[in-house]
Symmetry: C2
Subunit: 330 residues, 2 copies
């Protein structure tokens, strides 16, 4: 397959993007190609001089970039030559089979939705992030594509994220939970109550009911469904809190055990790895007729390589075909 990679997205672009593309050789099949999209003059200096990379990497020039804080739709309209807009157009034209970007998340979601059709039967695409917990990965959907949800949308997020969790995390028959403010069926807002009923009535879903925020860390589900506003808050809260607790804990330990700085660093690396968003590389926009993997802005080359792995798993397990079979009306 041909995977388009936004060389200009992310806080450390293009270096980490180019390194990730180079590292990816280890996980690519012989016919696979990575197409780095971005300013050629910025990309080329990071590629090995011997030209060996030409066996699996191509460079496609795109003059413009979209800033991380730009307004998505405006930026896409005013910059058709930006790396994100070019990626979307290439995917639409069939030049590439997947897009990966660590750039402006809103612009990625907008470009995918403007340029790629929705899969048949899908009401709204949703972003599924694999959250590291202490009891294995949980696919959380949606984390920000759709802040205007109806029960039908959330129900479909459960179906799509189950297929995705099976494909990428290799979880057989994933347990699907609905995020609420109490485990009881009757708790929550109108959106949650409506969704609960739809999920309960769907025999294809292994629905385990409503869960509270704290249960996310108790290994009770493999897929967590929520609307995009809540999901985005949850995701960023987890990130900020993990950072805060670990920093705080290291400080307290350093003053208790000044002579064991090395062992403390080792232990915290062990934890950090369990909790590293780079492990799963990126989050797909589920429901579009194509593959678009959105990476964290702070992704390093390891995260980028893992996003390439996610794109490959996504294609190999025919996630989109499975979604169409599950959701198309006939």
């Amino acid at each position: 397959m041909r995977i388009g990679l936004d060389a200009m997205g992310g806080d450390q672009a293009p270096q980490e993007e180019v390194l990730g593309a180079l590292d990816a050789r280890a996980i690519l099949d012989p016919d696979d190609r990575i197409v780095l999209v971005g300013r050629e003059a910025d990309i080329v200096p990071h590629l090995p001089e011997d030209g060996s990379w030409r066996q699996w990497v191509e460079v496609r020039h795109a003059e413009d970039t979209i800033a991380m804080d730009a307004k998505p739709v405006e930026a896409l309209r005013s910059k058709p030559g930006s790396s994100i807009a070019v990626l979307a157009q290439m995917h639409r034209d069939g030049e590439i089979d997947a897009c990966i970007s660590a750039g402006n998340t809103g612009a990625c979601a907008a470009a995918a939705q403007m340029r790629l059709r929705r899969l048949r039967g899908v009401h709204r695409p949703g972003i599924a992030v694999i959250a590291p917990t202490f009891h294995g990965p949980v696919s959380v959907c949606d984390v920000g594509a759709n802040v205007n949800c109806r029960p039908q949308h959330l129900h479909q997020y459960g179906v799509m994220a189950s297929i995705y969790a099976n494909a990428v995390c290799h979880i057989e028959d994933p347990r699907v939970a609905l995020l609420s403010i109490g485990a009881e069926d009757a708790k929550g807002n109108e959106l949650v109550k409506g969704t609960h009923q739809l999920m309960k009535d769907d025999p294809r879903l292994r629905f385990v009911g409503n869960i509270e925020g704290r249960d996310l860390f108790r290994g009770v589900c493999d897929v967590l469904v929520c609307e995009g506003f809540v999901g985005n808050v949850v995701l960023k809260l987890m990130e900020g809190m993990a950072e805060g607790i670990v920093t705080s804990m290291l400080g307290a330990l350093a003053s208790e055990l000044p002579s064991h700085a090395e062992a403390i660093r080792t232990a915290s690396t062990t934890i950090a790895r369990k909790y590293d968003f780079n492990e799963y590389g990126g989050a797909p926009l589920l429901g579009v007729a194509g593959i678009w993997i959105i990476c964290h802005g702070a992704s390093n080359h390891y995260g980028i390589m893992n996003a390439i792995r996610v794109a490959k798993d996504f294609a190999a397990h025919q996630v989109n075909q499975q979604i169409v079979e599950a959701l198309s009306p006939d």
Copy 2:
């Protein structure tokens, strides 16, 4: 003042409740009284035999209890003799000046709203929890009283929680932020956009704009406004995650430094204290004509004593009078 304390609420009732009431002597004024409400036969065995407690503690018998997982409104209707229903009635009748309970949160919120009027000018009461962060306490409002919010409600939560943060956390002119999915004014759902405008236009609020989930741990605000569903998810997520990370970290450290178990425990206690919900004891339901402090179900005697302190600060700083002055229409 006379403070009613639900002796039957909480996971460790009545023991921790009674101990908390006894400990509270240190922070009470000479005229203050704690009225323990619950089954007399269960309460009395925890009181010192010498009767010294009679100087500041009274016992009011209430036959029934409401289970932690009971449906709030149904339970209150079917059990008028439950400790929570009796507390609410006593407050309404002027027999006590404040209620404290670590029992069923929904039942507390419902009892307070059914029995106590709303303060003049208040649209909807909201629960304000003081979240421990690594940069000082942040008052988060609402965390679950109102899952059907309008911009006007959220705006008032900002006003009420500012008054509360000033009274209880002693923060001069607190910085108020609105929880959203991006710092830009234009991001968020319709509720957030509407609220943003109202807050921006209110010169009495020190509004610092929208923040993301991760910013809660970066010391950028003293008050965080959100609707009850999101706030409840945030609160429980923080709790579950803190527990998970600390446990995970201690495990990793124990295997790195088996001979320093003691120092590791000391360091983790330091962290745990910074992150202990017992430090602020309880969360008031802001906006009702009375004082109702809702405690965490797992509160220990220290948490209960601190809830008593919160009730006293609330009264001493005339939080309700300040709210009426700020929000009443004329």
